[in-house]
Symmetry: C2
Subunit: 341 residues, 2 copies
Amino acid sequence: MERTEIAALGEFGLIDHLTKNIEIQNASTIVGVGDDAAVIDHFGKQTVITNDLLIEGVHFDLMYTPLRHLGYKSIVVNLSDIYAMNATPTQVVLGLAFSNRFSLEALDEFYEGVYAACEKYGVDLIGGDTASSQKGFIISCTAIGEVTPDRYVKRNGARKGDLLCVSGDLGGAYLGLTLLEREKQIFLENPKIQPDLEGEKYVVGRILKPEARKDIIDFLAQQEIIPSSMIDVSDGLSSEILHLCKQSKVGAVLYEEKIPIAEASRLAAYKFHLDPTACALSGGEDYELLFTIAQDDYEKITTTEMISVIGYITDDEAGSQIYTKGGNKHPITAQGWNAFK
Amino acid sequence: MERTEIAALGEFGLIDHLTKNIEIQNASTIVGVGDDAAVIDHFGKQTVITNDLLIEGVHFDLMYTPLRHLGYKSIVVNLSDIYAMNATPTQVVLGLAFSNRFSLEALDEFYEGVYAACEKYGVDLIGGDTASSQKGFIISCTAIGEVTPDRYVKRNGARKGDLLCVSGDLGGAYLGLTLLEREKQIFLENPKIQPDLEGEKYVVGRILKPEARKDIIDFLAQQEIIPSSMIDVSDGLSSEILHLCKQSKVGAVLYEEKIPIAEASRLAAYKFHLDPTACALSGGEDYELLFTIAQDDYEKITTTEMISVIGYITDDEAGSQIYTKGGNKHPITAQGWNAFK
């Protein structure tokens, strides 16, 4: 395999190389890559903006993460935040830092994934920064979207009686990560053993190549539903429910039996002697959408299997509770970030 | 001195702590910190956006950079890019990653600088991301600004005969860095020797606490001058002139004797046996504005001492040349990024 040192191009040669094939997809992109800043035109619309920082060794492990997938995921996790505002992503800005361990070919692979995601979601890469790092790969992505002033959805609009809904299924990404971590340990102990990922394609795909739920936003628009509150599930269902409740000053009831978990995730959980529900509640990175809707909108969402009603909103005083399959009631507790320490 | 571990707060407690005192300064800031994304309203204006990544050990050295100054500078260097588009910065998004070496008090100090810069330049901090890093402090800043469609200034509009102008003075930041690096080496060899920064306040201030040239943008607007091209001087004058020329497909003539260099920078250069002109040409981080204006606008800029005319724009074929004080002519060569390897 070829290896071109980045230093052979210099910073500006590198930027030219990485951005020379960009094709602008949005009329609102006036000035893209190549100036001090990009220019976006948003007549009568509002701009939505979000930022994520991904650090090698903390957020991803290059031992089992193909760079192409990492590039794809870097974009997708940011777009997920834009969709969680009920907005349409239009542009991304990408900052990258890397040590001389990375060749030009490695960066090209990363950017292939970036461009694949940009194309799939119709967003323009309009700028960024490249820097050297002493160690590791660091990704900073800022996504920009647009929404009309009457349509954006915050976390604080949930009202008593609203239905609590979630898209897709949960827990898969955490199980994929668990599997990859196990295979890594086996490989480190005995490099001759090939990874056994047969039958685990689903959960591995959930962690390595997540998608943002554009389809849910499109469906809600088509059904003329504006959720009363919405958040994307990046830290686990418990943590996200508590965010919505705290910001909306309400409580919630969640039914364990209603939490959508894919059959493949369930099987993977049993293999690791893990509780599938715990994986859904506390495992992160599913990038599904959690939202609340008025009861009047219930009929409209029964036409799709992409959305599950998992509970409802209560008074603030009632707190947030989960009813287990066994008929018990427990307070929902935040795990998320600190759970993985 | 108190030391609170970040882990004691958790991610969300930390974000609450760091952002609880934010006061929104711009009417266009609709949703700020605390949701999946921020929302900005820009009726009839265009949005300008830029991003910078700053890495400990590469872009800054915490041994001689106070965290408060670092926070201030992180914002300012991004605003400088917005001003270089002739736009007004309005919002910033800040991503931070740090190891457990940093306490809450250290982060507070950093944010003090961030908020001081936001206040001074009238921008709103509207979101971001905090993450842990295995090692070192990583800062990702995205700045957003606005401009009316007929006023933004790109790098590619310089025309033959235009005057080449620069704000303030150059080379000081590089000399400040050189001084701090020298004092660091002396300290490492003998920790008992106190740093000797007497009389060097100016150059040290240039590297540790740069300002963005809002005043120049205000002056140009007041004089009704729209530059034909503009860029901020972050990599050194040579590199920036070559950027403008390449993107505008023109050449340039630069007069060494016209390059503005502060007396304090000149003295510091002599002390280190460095050529002050070389420091201005190839030293970075001055964050001045380099721009071109039509000859007809010349009279208007003579009313200020903040702007120096340092040369003029020629045909592309003529290339970019510097006339030295000794009467010689040399092609301008890019240094910038690679010069400091």
